[in-house]
């Protein structure tokens, strides 16, 4: 009898630490957030019930609109970019050659360090006298060299491929072994042309001094609804760069799970590389894509760290996101906390996340149905 009681309580005992977390730090907090969103509260005097006033104020708040716009822009653009990039990186890494483990480690590097570290390094790269502007300057002054290199490269590749076609041998436009030859030849030729002074750097071009962070500039200009502010755009690049490698690992696992026979069958049918990828590989990865997009959307909608670290180095309006809006309302630097507004915005953010994930789920699942 005692024993069975011990067994009966065992699951709850084992779960108790987690249940404590789930109840106190999630359930209770979640319900309280709802409650706070209907009150006026400054963390000290007791909350005062105000009904829907906070939500109405949110709708009227210009800054909230900006935060919403920035968050949505950020979520959509970064999720698409990082999904594509992750797949691309995984395809590049899916090779059976020596040292591939080393490259996998190198590619994963951006994902292991903290957002604080990468944001600081990026802020430094995006300074007015930073590396990004320097590389742009270099591209601007050396455009002739770059053009000559690419021109020679294309010519060389075309020459090799046509040569092979004349011999009536099957060859693809991007035959890798030819690509390598073309790169080497055009690189050497360009090098000689530069050394002999036939192709030169452009002169009199002023250095690029774009201000990336501390600016209200938009791209495209004057487009208030769809325009991306420069600082937010920089953060998008940064975030894509740091999160793509995580998702790359998921894709890589997926790619390695695809049975060899599928590739072989495609090859027998004479499918090109691209066709194999589109009709064979991509459908096999649809589960992973769904996961990647869902996780991407959830995390990008909550983007906070980068904005907080850049802080006053960028105008608030051009980088503020929903998560940051919640934070600065709850812990403003000068006025008293507006917990009601913060909670209302947080509730909104929570629902937005759920809604977008649900829509995504529906669209992707239906899309699949059509394909089958």
């Amino acid at each position: 009898m005692r024993r069975s009681l011990k067994e009966k309580t065992a699951p709850y005992v084992l779960l108790s630490p987690y249940l404590f977390m789930l109840i106190v730090f999630f359930g209770y907090a979640f319900i309280r957030c709802f409650y706070f969103s209907f009150t006026e509260y400054d963390l000290f005097s007791p909350p005062r019930w105000v009904g829907f006033k906070n939500y109405l104020n949110l709708v009227k708040d210009f800054q909230f609109g900006l935060a919403l716009k920035n968050s949505l822009q950020f979520a959509v653009i970064v999720t698409s970019l990082q999904t594509i990039l992750a797949l691309l990186l995984a395809v590049i890494l899916n090779q059976k050659i020596k040292g591939i483990r080393f490259f996998r480690a190198v590619y994963y590097m951006p994902s292991i360090t903290s957002s604080a570290v990468v944001t600081l390094i990026f802020m430094w790269l995006f300074q007015k006298k930073g590396l990004i502007n320097y590389l742009l300057t270099l591209a601007k002054t050396g455009y002739r060299i770059i053009a000559v290199f690419f021109g020679l490269f294309v010519l060389c590749q075309a020459f090799l491929v046509i040569g092979e076609k004349i011999k009536k041998r099957p060859v693809s436009l991007f035959e890798p072994s030819f690509l390598f030859l073309s790169v080497v030849v055009s690189f050497m030729a360009t090098f000689i042309l530069v050394k002999t002074g036939i192709v030169t750097m452009a002169e009199g071009i002023p250095p690029v001094e774009t201000v990336w962070l501390n600016t209200k500039k938009m791209w495209p200009q004057n487009n208030r609804i769809f325009g991306i502010s420069y600082p937010l755009g920089s953060i998008m690049l940064l975030n894509t760069w740091t999160t793509a490698p995580t998702f790359m690992l998921l894709y890589l696992a997926g790619l390695q799970d695809i049975p060899k026979e599928l590739y072989e069958a495609a090859a027998v049918d004479g499918a090109t590389k691209f066709k194999t990828f589109w009709y064979v590989v991509r459908p096999q990865l649809s589960n992973i894509t769904f996961l990647v997009v869902t996780m991407g959307l959830i995390s990008t909608l909550q983007m906070f760290d980068q904005v907080a670290i850049i802080g006053d180095q960028a105008p608030l309006d051009s980088v503020i996101t929903l998560a940051y809006y919640v934070y600065i309302n709850a812990f403003p630097s000068s006025v008293s906390p507006k917990i009601g507004m913060a909670s209302a915005a947080a509730v909104f953010l929570g629902f937005l996340t759920l809604l977008i994930v649900l829509i995504q789920k529906k669209v992707v699942r239906e899309g699949e149905g059509v394909e089958l």
């Binding site: 779960l15 300074q127 992973i288 802080g311 996340t353």
Partner: protein, 468 residues
């Protein structure tokens, strides 16, 4: 003779040529793959590499950005060693001690037709880095040093008529106190160009090239090379306790990670085991709630959690004589005992273990606790390894929650929050050296961990990914 030789050479058959071509093709294809892999690597670790390199530079924002760094030139290492040896008898960590005589040489170039002017050497009373550091300086080398007469030791006339002159002088310590640094400025007229010196100057082009400036001649090799790193540790002291801030942050981060990893390993295995292998009422509800909690942003729950910590978890902490858990590590540990994703990983793992393990033990009369701790726990090494790494990484990099909980004093910060305060302090002055150095230091433990336990990182990601 020659004819005969030619005829004996066997011409390769068509087949052999074809095979050779194919081999070559395969070789070039592999080379192309490596080339692409390498080019993409530049994108992924290029920023880190350049950041690491620039963290050694005097001015990480120099224009144009260069890959060559004065601090990495062996000639400068030797010079720094010798100067420091002259300064205090020690070569690696130096100071400017009584009785020191520092010999120095510097070379300038003057265009044809102009007469070289003897440069003026000054030991300035310069405050290093931020103003806060000034409070720590007891003695300025400027008050205890004398520069000898500057003498011309060599003159060389170049092909175009311009003249290169080398000057030599010594700096003497005249007092009886130890100064921790010996800065120096050399001033020359406009047009007299700096060529070289015993030790490369930290700022060669001050005031249109008229002033060359050194931070510390007797730094010693290590502080010379790792100047910004040295600044990170030497310039940041707590106003209240006088303790070194940056090392406190490192310690805090490690302590927090250690505690959170332990609690997560234990409690996540317990919860994961219960959810995976035991039957009880409310199991599905708990699991669904768990999934739901993983989707809800932290911004929804943080206000209430902040209040819970502020009031000491419903006043429970008062039992231990603690009023509030804000600004404390107990608070961060209590609010992060075990995360939903850790439970999820352990649940996934335990579900994958064979049923027979458990059945056999049950027949032998083992309790659920015994099954978990005697059988399942030892088997869970791979999952626990991955969970350790993931939790460590997550806690080490955590930003939002520590930012809310830890506000003052500064020596309570974790590394990530500390870096934010670095950005605020140094970023205003575009003084990126210490910021980069601090970033590199705080990235280091994870990079080491990653290099050693790469497998676990990868596994951890795929564990979390199974839920799709």
């Amino acid at each position: 003779m020659r004819k005969q030789e030619l005829s004996t050479i066997k011409l390769p058959s068509e087949e052999e040529i074809r095979e050779f071509q194919l081999k070559q093709r395969r070789w070039r294809k592999v080379a192309m793959i490596y080339l692409v892999l390498l080019l993409v690597s530049i994108l992924t670790i290029g920023p880190f590499f350049f950041g690491l390199l620039s963290s050694l530079k005097d001015n990480p924002l120099e224009w144009p950005p260069k890959l060559s760094v004065n601090q990495l030139k062996p000639a400068n290492w030797i010079a720094a060693f010798r100067l420091s040896k002259a300064g205090c008898g020690k070569g690696f960590f130096g100071e400017f001690a009584p009785g020191a005589i520092i010999p120095f040489q510097v070379t300038y170039q003057v265009p044809a037709g102009k007469e070289p002017v003897t440069p003026q050497v000054v030991v300035p009373k310069r405050v290093p880095g931020t103003a806060g550091a000034a409070l720590l300086i007891e003695h300025y080398a400027a008050d205890y040093s004398r520069v000898s007469e500057v003498q011309e030791v060599k003159r060389e006339i170049l092909a175009d008529g311009s003249v290169r002159v080398t000057y030599a002088f010594t700096i003497h310590h005249t007092g009886d106190v130890v100064c921790d640094r010996l800065p120096m400025d050399i001033t020359v007229p406009l047009g007299q160009q700096f060529v070289s010196a015993t030790l490369d100057p930290n700022r060669p082009n001050e005031r249109l090239g008229r002033v060359q400036s050194w931070n510390n001649l007797t730094a010693g090799v290590i502080p010379y090379i790792f100047y910004n790193y040295h600044r990170v540790f030497s310039e940041n002291y707590s106003r209240t306790t006088g303790k070194n801030l940056f090392s406190s942050w490192i310690k805090n981060s490690f302590v927090l990670c250690f505690a959170r990893v332990l609690t997560n390993l234990l409690f996540a295995s317990m919860a994961g085991f219960a959810l995976a292998r035991l039957k009880f009422r409310g199991k599905n509800t708990i699991f669904l709630l768990m999934l739901f909690s993983m989707m809800i942003p932290g911004q929804v729950t943080f206000i209430s959690n902040y209040l819970v910590l502020r009031d000491g978890v419903f006043g429970l902490s008062k039992l231990f004589g603690v009023n509030t858990l804000l600004n404390s590590y107990s608070g961060l540990i209590v609010s992060g005992l075990v995360s939903a994703s850790s439970v999820f990983i352990m649940k996934q793992f335990f579900e994958g273990l064979p049923e027979s393990l458990e059945e056999a033990a049950r027949i032998d009369g083992a309790s659920s606790y015994q099954i978990l701790f005697r059988i399942f726990f030892p088997l869970a090494k791979p999952a626990l390894g991955a969970l350790t790494i993931l939790t460590f990484q997550g806690v080490w990099n955590e930003f939002f929650w520590p930012l809310v909980v830890l506000t003052s004093p500064q020596d309570r910060f974790t590394l990530t929050i500390g870096l934010l305060s670095f950005r605020r302090m140094y970023g205003v002055a575009f003084d990126w050296g210490p910021i980069l150095a601090g970033s590199v230091i705080s990235a280091l433990p994870l990079v080491v961990l990653f290099v050693v336990f790469q497998r676990y990182f990868v596994e951890g990601i795929s564990f979390t990914g199974v839920k799709g």
